[in-house]
């Protein structure tokens, strides 16, 4: 695993998130469920809790967009770059953006598995950079491996716990 320069992290124990826009590929409630599941995978390992807000500014703003979308990193259409997210911090910090031009799935059909991508991007939102361990969720390329029992790898857990400690330390 690796961390971003200066190892930015959230200092509050409760982190807010807001889903500001959706893909037309999945029902809204499925996107909501998948984001909650992705966050819970991280929160099971560290002493952070996530609270969804529906209005205003949250620590982590999550959305789908195509092309230029207000940051310095426009999306590139189907394929190649699927999503990106920013390290913890104010403003764009922590925000996770997904390319609306991809075909997003919940794993029941061919396409980009949103749970995998969301877990990866939210790892960035929490302060993890890319891992060079091919088994890690934080590996930068999207794989076609077995997603039925998708979970964090040991490397991901070591990385996130280096930033925040273990949940049972509380």
């Amino acid at each position: 695993y690796s961390l971003f320069p200066s190892s930015p992290k959230w200092t509050s124990r409760v982190i807010t998130y807001r889903i500001v826009s959706y893909t037309s590929d999945l029902p809204h409630f499925v996107v909501d469920q998948i984001v909650a599941k992705a966050l819970s995978m991280w929160s099971e390992q560290i002493p952070l809790d996530f609270k969804r807000v529906r209005f205003g500014t949250a620590n982590i703003m999550i959305g789908f967009a195509r092309g230029a979308h207000g940051d310095q990193y426009p999306f590139d259409g189907p394929g190649n770059t699927l999503a990106h997210a920013f390290a913890p911090g104010p403003g764009l910090g922590g925000d996770a953006h997904f390319d609306k031009d991809e075909y997003w799935t919940d794993g029941s059909s061919l396409g980009i598995n949103f749970l995998v991508a969301a877990t990866h991007e939210l790892g960035h939102s929490l302060g993890l950079a890319h891992s060079s361990d091919p088994e890690a969720v934080m590996y930068p390329t999207y794989g076609n491996g077995d997603l039925l029992d998708f979970s964090l790898a040991e490397d991901d857990i070591k990385g996130i716990q280096r930033l925040y400690g273990k949940r049972n330390d509380l």
Partner: protein, 77 residues
């Protein structure tokens, strides 16, 4: 940009795509004409992905560059 000997089998388009990739994910300065800079960044990318660090734009390296991926750079700026 002068192409190294081993690049003869690589198309100009592939070199452009590789430079774009390295610029985006490994902070390669595409304005520099220094072939060493490109080779260094290629090696950096190959090291990250556990490939032999040849500094050559070989088929395996190109294959990884074409994979769908996260838009966050692989190395710290």
């Amino acid at each position: 940009l002068p192409l190294p000997e081993e690049a003869k089998s690589v198309s100009e388009l592939q070199w452009d795509q590789a430079q774009h990739y390295l610029k985006r994910f490994y902070f390669h300065d595409t304005k520099t004409k220094d072939i060493n800079s490109l080779v260094i960044k290629l090696k950096e990318m190959q090291k990250f992905f556990g490939l032999p660090m040849t500094g050559e734009l070989n088929p395996h390296t190109i294959e990884i560059m074409k994979k769908p991926r996260c838009g966050v750079p692989d190395v710290a700026e």
